[in-house]
């Protein structure tokens, strides 16, 4: 039973076709584009409200030049939230548990903010490497430390998303298999496990949404520093 725990994260194939491609396209089908009429249906209105309020909140600390990132950040947020929450349904595959996918999101976007910062105002960007008011003997060490923290950001972005989702899915599988196997012999223990499972599921739904939000928020923060 222990060997099977990570089987749920294997990239599924069906007759040789990688299904991750189809799992990645699933969010596109769930978001209808607005109709040309003056009043849209409930789903489109909900979608518009959500994206509008999210972008307003995320882009408010960023100056006008950075607002060209609005479409990218909105798409990223909606995509990640949908992928994460769809992965909580039974038997579905969550592409965001694959480190490769999350790094593919994190590295190019982070690198874009850094390169933009260095191109537009290199002194300002380099100045971020030294916090204000540090005593002079500490300066060399602090610059090294700040550079390391800058370089580790994409790694942290990708691994954070992967680890949170993978851990959540693993916990759900462990607790549910424990509850199931205990169901007939020790019913009280099984009911405790079921209670834990309910709480865990609620947590997982929250984590799914929060992790997407954190990803985009941090990215907007890096953008704010550099734009």
């Amino acid at each position: 039973m222990t060997m099977n725990l990570f089987n749920q994260f294997l990239s599924p194939t069906f007759l040789g076709l990688p299904l991750i491609a189809i799992a990645l396209m699933a969010p596109c089908l769930l978001y209808p584009s607005p109709a040309p009429g003056w009043q849209s249906n409930r789903w489109t209105t909900l979608q518009n409200w959500f994206i509008g309020s999210f972008i307003k909140q995320t882009l408010s600390p960023i100056n006008t030049k950075g607002h060209s990132w609005a479409l990218l950040l909105a798409t990223l947020m909606v995509f990640l939230i949908t992928l994460n929450t769809l992965g909580l349904l039974p038997y579905t595959f969550t592409p965001t548990t694959q480190l490769s996918l999350n790094m593919a999101f994190a590295v190019p976007l982070w690198l874009a903010t850094v390169i933009m910062g260095f191109r537009n105002s290199p002194t300002h960007a380099l100045g971020h490497l030294l916090p204000e008011g540090t005593p002079t003997p500490l300066v060399p060490i602090l610059i090294i430390i700040e550079s390391i923290s800058l370089l580790i950001r994409p790694l942290a972005l990708g691994v954070r998303l992967t680890a949170n989702l993978t851990a959540g899915h693993l916990l759900i599988q462990l607790v549910s298999s424990a509850a199931f196997s205990l169901l007939l012999s020790q019913t009280t223990a099984a009911s405790l496990a079921v209670g834990l499972l309910l709480l865990l599921t609620i947590l997982e739904v929250a984590v799914a949404m929060i992790q997407a939000y954190v990803f985009v928020l941090l990215l907007s923060l890096y953008l704010q520093e550099n734009v």
Partner: protein
């Protein structure tokens, strides 16, 4: 009631008689463009019936998700069949 005679190929699938099925399949457009347009037509039929309505409920989305779950189950069956507790039931 006497319907106007319609060529077999243009009938909707539910109106095609069993014997005419072969002719119907032979006359359909299986080029990539044709397949794409049939997918798009199907999507718009579903969308306009269940989602693009004034008081759409959770049913439209729920049916889509239920279909997604069953499709995922079918795809993952080859992995999941090893999780059985008994080999022979």
């Amino acid at each position: 009631m006497a319907d106007r005679p319609v060529p077999v190929v243009e009938k909707r699938l539910m109106d095609v008689k069993l014997g005419e099925l072969g002719t119907w399949m032979g006359g359909r457009d299986f080029t990539p463009n044709g397949l794409l347009s049939s997918v798009r037509r199907g999507y718009e039929r579903y969308y306009n019936k269940y989602i693009n309505v004034k008081k759409g409920g959770i049913g439209g989305l729920a049916m889509l998700l239920a279909g997604y779950i069953t499709l995922s189950y079918v795809w993952e069956y080859n992995h999941i069949k090893h999780d059985r507790w008994r080999k022979y039931h």
